[in-house]
């Protein structure tokens, strides 16, 4: 972060913002402003260059063809790699999560190269589409309360040795690998299948991104009573038998 301005980059809303993914951007923006930060939000369309000097990059979910187009354009652009080399934080959801891995299956049924920023490989699941509320325990190293979200995907994502599972699913599917993992992360790059949007359901993950971007250990408290009320309701709902 420079000039006391936090630069939040939303990658390709024209292709990857089908499931309310703007919500993650709005939550990061709002929580940064509540901490007195000056926030510059940059929405980058897929015919524009990815800036390399952002602090937090958000990339959302989308349909199969836009996902392929986004991967093609991001590979060609190369800016996100440079941003990560510069130390930027990246948070990705669903189709965006798959794009950040080594490869995924595109709308044509072919293996599509990803960006290789996360050590994961995604394939298409054989079973039913995973749709519904999810409850999971976040990796204890991150010191965060349980993960609540809504999943809607057919993908199965396998983690390589340098990616850690973001969470362990208690209810729902997550990565769909059968081992209960959900999402993946390394030092600066995060991926999850959770919609909801996930940062609205888990504001402390948004705070984690802010802390990593600002390189601080703590942030001033915020009034989170509505987030808490929503979390309690959704966690209870996930535990109800369907």
């Amino acid at each position: 972060m420079s000039d006391n301005q936090l630069r939040v980059v939303w990658i390709y809303p024209d292709l990857l913002s089908t499931y309310g993914d703007q919500g993650n951007v709005l939550v990061v923006e709002r929580r940064a402003r509540q901490r007195g930060l000056d926030v510059a939000r940059l929405d980058v369309r897929s015919d524009q260059a990815i800036p390399t000097s952002g602090d937090i990059y958000l990339i959302g979910g989308g349909e199969d063809r836009p996902q392929r187009l986004a991967a093609e354009r991001l590979r060609r652009d190369g800016g996100l790699h440079r941003a990560v080399e510069n130390g930027a934080i990246v948070f990705s959801v669903c189709a965006g999560y798959q794009i950040l891995g080594h490869e995924f299956i595109n709308d044509l049924g072919q293996r599509e190269p990803g960006l290789g920023l996360l050590d994961v490989v995604s394939v298409r699941g054989e079973g039913d589409r995973c749709v519904g509320d999810v409850l999971a325990d976040i990796d204890p190293r991150l010191g965060l309360p349980p993960l609540t979200g809504f999943e809607n995907h057919q993908g199965v994502t396998h983690l390589g040795p340098t990616a850690r599972p973001l969470a362990k699913v208690k209810l729902g599917n997550g990565n769909g690998t059968g081992d209960g993992t959900e999402g993946a992360y390394n030092d600066t790059v995060f991926g999850t299948y959770m919609h909801g949007p996930v940062l609205a359901r888990n504001p402390l993950i948004a705070d984690l991104l802010l802390k990593l971007a600002l390189d601080v250990n703590a942030l001033p408290p915020t009034d989170d009573r509505w987030y808490e009320a929503l979390r309690n309701e959704r966690i209870a709902a996930a535990q109800q038998p369907a």
């Binding site: 024209d14 499931y19 919500g23 939550v27 349909e63 063809r65 609205a200 929503l230």
Partner: protein, 412 residues
């Protein structure tokens, strides 16, 4: 076209009679109108029944993400100038409900049929329509419906080579993509406020350019067709360039757009725009939507908004601040169980309105409004929310099952 000869085979007649009997039993048991269950039974006895019922009607199909029930009413009203009309006016828009509605009338000349987006291709095959009106396509219930672009693709394949006249919105790239495989299209510049499902070219995937009201793909040349009809403020412009005033009891820009499309459909059947538009004035509330009801000394206007495009159009028609707004959202099966779409709605447009939130998912709304930096109150139910508002007009905006809950509570 009204047939004098009886088109129904004995089997079809039996199916119609059986369907009506089941519907009556369902009504008697207090399970709604019975039209869907009746239609299901009838279609089981005679799978070709829908085609048989349609064969001596001049059929118009109406499909869209938003506005199809209202537009079906407007077109039905307009075509009554030329002859009797049968229509699924209650919004039962899948094959069973449509069959049931058509079985309810034997002397109609026109059939005006609202069709669920997913069923359009099949119903078009069965009913051999003279006209198909396509209004808009946008994200809606993504947890259970097909992806929006796939729906457009499905329309496009289903309508390729159709003999019907397609009346289509030139301002919605997905609708244009769907309609442009048909040989006979009448383009209507009906406008569309929501643009976020068509930034990517439906033809080649290129990035859409959208200067002003125009749109085109910078890569493949797919572009907005030249419309022959247009909505222009409070007027409909016909292909001769004449401007006809729109007088509706229904509020909002979206309903003016629906009226413009309806006038173009009416003209296909020889009903001139001035006659069509005058008749459309008759339409008041449609299935409770836009109704103003007295409740606890307040005037509640009931507004249905099911998806981001619908909320956007609805915000543009409500009374200005300080008119209070009550928002109600559920996420039951018919609504879609994922509430993420709330984050595609721009709630900063409500700045200055006192806001109360109710419904099964009021806490999702609360977080959404908190992040939008709006002042709001979370209420237990409609009664409590209404009590917090001063006497006078209240705008009540609800999604599908929340709207049904509202109507039950206010006795509408």
């Amino acid at each position: 076209m009204a047939g004098n000869s009886d088109p129904l085979t004995p089997r079809a007649k039996l199916a119609v009679t059986a369907g009506k009997a089941v519907a009556a039993a369902s009504r008697a048991a207090g399970r709604g109108s019975g039209s869907v269950i009746g239609g299901r039974v009838a279609l089981k006895l005679d799978p070709d029944l829908l085609a048989r019922l349609a064969q001596n009607l001049d059929v118009t199909l109406v499909s869209a993400t938003n506005g199809k029930t209202t537009t079906t009413r407007l077109i039905a009203e307009a075509l009554r100038a030329a002859g009797p009309v049968v229509s699924n006016a209650l919004g039962a828009n899948m094959p069973a409900g449509i069959t049931s509605a058509l079985a309810g009338s034997s002397d109609a000349r026109f059939g005006v049929i609202e069709v669920d987006e997913k069923y359009l291709a099949g119903v078009a095959r069965d009913t051999d329509p003279k006209c198909i009106a396509l209004l808009n396509l946008s994200r809606d219930q993504l947890d259970r419906a097909a992806e929006t672009r796939m729906l457009a693709e499905n329309w496009r394949e289903g309508l390729a080579g159709s003999k019907a006249v397609i009346v289509a919105n030139a301002d919605d790239p997905l609708v244009v993509w769907a309609a442009s495989s048909s040989p006979n299209v009448i383009w209507v510049a009906a406008g569309q406020m929501w643009k976020d499902d068509a930034w990517s070219c439906p033809s080649c995937g290129g990035v859409m350019q959208r200067p002003g009201d125009d749109w085109f793909c910078g890569e493949c040349g797919f572009r907005r067709p030249t419309p022959s009809w247009a909505l222009s403020g409070d007027h409909v412009l016909d292909p001769h360039g004449s401007a006809w005033p729109i007088h509706l009891q229904l509020p909002g820009r979206a309903n003016k757009a629906n009226a413009a499309s309806s006038a173009a459909v009416a003209a296909v059947f020889g009903v001139p725009p001035q006659v069509a538009l005058e008749r459309m004035y008759q339409v008041q509330a449609v299935a409770g939507r836009y109704d103003v009801v007295q409740f606890q000394q307040r005037d509640l206007r009931l507004l249905l908004a099911k998806n981001p495009a619908g909320w956007l159009e609805t915000f543009s028609l409500i009374d200005p601040p300080p008119t209070p707004v009550i928002l109600s959202v559920n996420a039951r099966g018919a609504d879609g169980t994922d509430t993420s779409w709330l984050w595609d709605v721009d709630y900063t447009r409500l700045t200055g309105h006192p806001i109360c939130v109710i419904g099964d998912r009021k806490l999702d709304l609360a977080v959404r409004l908190e992040v939008a930096n709006q002042h709001f109150q979370v209420c237990d139910d409609l009664d409590q929310a209404v009590q917090l508002c001063p006497p006078g007009r209240i705008e009540v905006i609800a999604n599908y099952t929340a709207f049904q809950d509202l109507r039950r509570r206010v006795g509408n």
